[in-house]
Amino acid sequence: MHEWALAEAVIKTALNVMNKEGGKKIVELNLVIGELQTIDMDAFTFAINELIKGTAMDGAKINYEFEKPVFKCLNCGYEWSIESLDKLLNEDEIEAIHFIPELSHVFVKCPKCGSPDFEVIKGRGVYIKSIKIQE
């Protein structure tokens, strides 16, 4: 359940943005969930829903968009995506990446040249795509 910590981060950031822009209420929040981090969505949405209670985000529409991880090898230039981590990695490896997505460099290799020197160009983790604020 470190999903709670990620949810806290999202909500704190959204409320900061609202305050900075002088808004009163957040009506919509669009989140992108990068699947490299294999977030437990039950735990995450539970946390989000608990944490917004009584805040200026209470009642906001929250949309989740999922993104498959896409990698680009810096050694050979190859670009690839992973449909499902389960087939490639064991449980401990997936858990390590769950906490620190950069540890994918320890466990994932470029399928073409074997290098761990790649960029995660999409689907790393959670980020906020946009926020709709009521003045």
């Binding site: 950031t13 950069e102 540890l103």
Partner: protein, 240 residues
């Protein structure tokens, strides 16, 4: 928008002092000193103390503490496991003994993630074992942590002092607090570090002699606590 940056100050809000043990130079004793400091503060002074090993390429604190595996405890985030009274975080908790070859961008991302999800709770001290260099780890420590202070380590060698002078000049350019300089691994009598400190106007905190008995105590805290090394370090601690 990255949601992680905003939460970091909250995660560190109940940490009274953040001390980054740094040098610029490698192999001067940052890891033994930061681990030793955390042990003295926790075991002898009974402070609430955390230790964060930020050297992802060359993590060493766990070897000094004699730990080779750390369990991950989750509770609305990650709760640092307590090792010899110290709340300890290291990349080995996640990567175990595997090599972690990361570019700076990934190191920075991993540090941000770690700081965003770790619940240190109430701490009197958080000691950070810094890697050598003035790269992403140093820049992110400066950028992301409010109350940080730098404790600078050097040996009496020209090569170490050359690099440390650059680190100090950099830290000053970003207005970072510098506690002072510790001289480590003094093998012969020289005053080169003392003179250097007074020339650049940074406090000279004291000297730790080269201790031939340190090596065999790495990995055993009881043995470590009885070394001359810890004795020297504890004297210096009175100045910090």
């Amino acid at each position: 928008m990255d949601p992680r940056l905003a939460i970091i100050s909250e995660r560190l809000s109940r940490v009274k002092r953040v001390i980054a043990v740094a040098s610029g130079k490698g192999g001067v004793g940052k890891s033994v000193i930061s681990t030793g400091l955390a042990l003295i503060l926790a075991l002898k002074k009974k402070y609430k103390c955390g230790l964060l090993d930020l050297d992802f390429h060359g993590p060493s604190c766990h070897i000094i503490l004699g730990v080779d595996k750390l369990d991950i405890v989750e509770e609305k985030g990650i709760i640092p496991p307590v090792i010899n009274g110290i709340r300890f975080m290291s990349i080995i908790q996640f990567a175990e003994d595997k090599p972690v070859a990361l570019r700076g961008r990934d190191i920075s991302n991993a540090i941000i993630e770690l700081l965003a999800i770790t619940r240190w709770g109430d701490l009197d001290y958080l000691i950070i074992d810094m890697p050598p260099g003035m790269g992403d780890e140093a820049l992110d420590t400066i950028r992301l942590m409010r109350n940080k202070e730098f404790l600078v380590i050097t040996t009496p060698s020209k090569l170490s002092i050359g690099v440390v002078e650059k680190l100090i000049s950099f830290l000053r350019s970003v207005n970072a607090d510098i506690i002072g300089i510790i001289e480590n691994m003094a093998l012969s009598e020289t005053s080169i570090v003392k003179e250097f400190s007074s020339r650049i106007g940074v406090r000279y905190l004291g000297k730790i002699n080269y201790d031939p008995g340190l090596e065999r105590c790495l990995g055993s805290v009881d043995c470590l606590m009885s070394t001359k090394f810890i004795e020297n370090l504890q004297e210096i601690l009175e100045n910090i």
